[in-house]
């Protein structure tokens, strides 16, 4: 049972599962239909998000010139982001 705070948003992510077991997020799609391609994953580590309220594997992603964090909440198998 995982509660959702206003700062936590579960999102749709296209992920490549590599033969060695790694997961690489490729594309994020928002509710409004906009989607963004992830150019590169620069960091990947377990981290908690106090702001969103949860813990998982945090992927630091470059989307164009922006950097953002995507969290894979392994406890439930869903992806979330922190909202401002």
């Amino acid at each position: 049972m995982v509660e959702i705070s206003p700062q936590k948003k579960y999102i749709q992510v296209n992920v490549d599962y590599m033969p060695d077991g790694r997961m690489i997020p490729r594309r994020v799609t928002w509710e409004d239909g906009h989607s963004y391609e992830i150019d590169r994953v620069t960091d990947q580590r377990r981290a908690a998000s106090l702001k969103a309220g949860g813990t998982g594997i945090r992927y630091t992603c470059r989307v164009g010139r922006q950097t953002c964090h995507l969290f894979y909440e392994d406890m439930v198998g869903r992806w979330f982001v922190e909202l401002k």
Binding site: M1, V2, E3, S5, P6, Q7, R45, R46, A47, A48, S49, L50, K51, G53, G54, T55, M75
Partner: protein, 432 residues
């Protein structure tokens, strides 16, 4: 000399819940059982609730009395077990000698990592920071050369802190503490010690071990050893499992049990779970026991020899029911009840059958159990039930196996692994 850490998750259940509920972090919060089912006690509380006087094991209504604007959250054990597992994996990066003590505590022997990872303090600080960053909860860590002092260290400063208890400082840090802070000194022992003029751990350490043994038996000597930091008990390897001595299930029922049928329903529910767990672990029980607590909270336990070593739910339930009828005169309604199978034997061991039991019937009952278990696993627990259960849907809506009741392991549970020094010869002896 060993380097041992004791890692304790602060206000474990409460802080885990608060990670997921940022809007409640400024409110007094307690995690407690569902008031509807009347399991309602405080399992954990956060700092704000603690300050208002809320104590663990208080009834929920008492907690609300002490703190009217308290927020109650129901426990979510799968979540806590997940956190315990992930924390354990983090500790596992520093040592394979890690021994959980309940869901929220863990010992870790990092002696072999100190050459690579830094000394005990450095490792402890790293773990503390990592748990906070990776899991969003805080831990207190005690560092010392034995398990007992390490545990005192983690209790010393809370939350989010590391305390080192060294050969240099243990007299000034540990010895002034009250004797009741020592592991295995409970209220009764504290009283008896006070009767001997012993109030602090230091006084216990200085007391004559012969006197202590005379008054308390073996435990007196053990506590003396603990108080002097001489406990040699090893931190178990992460794959070590303490031997199972009995398998049981107990429950506080959704409503008081008033009729014999009520009791039978509940005993069957518990027996089904015990039978399944026996089979899963490869055991049969030669002893069946029951525990009963009534609405005045008076209780008793009884046990008897099973007619045949059994892992069959019907046999366990009927034996339990017979024990109940023979020993309870039903003056008051029953609040909670438990069934236990003990004196375990290997289920595959050859079984001397006799002429007086219908082994064909027993085999059928056993295979029925297995088939029911299979159906439940595939389609859901409540998809198949005994006809008896339909007599009272409220009472029978209990999944004794899945609705966790956690029993923490005791320090002495694996009796013969408590190590103490043989002071005369300067060698280790096994105690227990």
């Amino acid at each position: 000399m060993r380097t041992i850490l004791h890692i304790d998750m602060n206000s474990c259940y409460a802080n885990i819940e608060l990670l997921y509920r940022p809007e409640l972090r400024d409110r007094p919060v307690a995690v407690g059982g569902d008031p509807e089912q009347r399991h309602g006690i405080v399992l954990a509380k956060n700092q704000l609730a603690k300050r208002a006087g809320v104590k663990t094991a208080m009834a929920l209504w008492e907690a609300r009395q002490a703190c009217p604007d308290i927020v109650f959250l129901p426990p979510d054990y799968p979540k806590y077990l997940y956190f315990s597992r992930i924390a354990g994996e983090i500790y596992g990066e520093y040592t394979d000698l890690r021994e959980p003590f309940g869901i929220d505590e863990c010992w870790a022997d990092v002696s072999d990592s100190t050459s690579v990872r830094g000394d005990g303090l450095r490792i402890a600080e790293e773990i503390r920071r990592r748990i906070r960053a990776e899991l969003g909860v805080t831990v207190s860590i005690g560092v010392s050369w034995n398990k007992i002092f390490a545990k005192l260290g983690s209790d010393y400063k809370k939350p989010d802190a590391v305390t080192v208890i060294s050969r240099e400082n243990y007299r000034s840090v540990v010895w002034p503490l009250p004797a009741s802070d020592l592991l295995y000194v409970g209220p009764a022992m504290t009283r008896k010690l006070r009767g001997l003029g012993i109030r602090t751990i230091g006084e216990l350490a200085a007391a004559d071990p012969v006197l202590l043994t005379g008054v308390f038996g073996k435990i007196g000597l053990v506590l003396h050893v603990f108080a002097n930091g001489e406990d040699l008990t090893p931190v178990n390897n992460e794959f070590y499992e303490t031997p199972v001595k009995s398998i049981g299930n107990s429950t506080t029922t959704p409503r008081d049990l008033v009729t014999e049928e009520d009791v039978r329903i509940t005993l069957y529910i518990l027996a089904e779970s015990v039978a399944e767990r026996l089979k899963d672990n490869g055991f049969k029980g030669r002893m069946i026991g029951i525990s009963v607590r009534d609405s005045e909270l008076w209780g008793f336990t009884r046990q008897c020899r099973a007619e045949r070593p059994t892992d069959i739910s019907t046999e366990i339930a009927e034996t339990a029911f017979r024990l109940f009828r023979d020993n309870y005169s039903c003056e008051r309604p029953i609040r909670s009840i438990g069934v236990r199978a003990g004196d375990l034997v290997d289920a595959n061991a050859p079984d001397q059958t006799d002429l007086f039991h219908d082994e064909i019937l027993r085999d059928k009952l056993r295979r029925t159990d297995i088939a029911v278990g299979d159906i439940r696993r595939r389609f859901g627990f409540y998809t198949i039930q005994r006809g008896l259960m339909y007599c009272d849907p409220q009472l029978s809506h209990v999944n004794a196996r899945e609705d966790h009741i956690i029993h923490p392991h005791g320090y002495f549970e694996d009796g013969n692994r408590v190590f103490m020094p043989d002071r005369s010869a300067g060698q280790y002896i096994k105690h227990g």
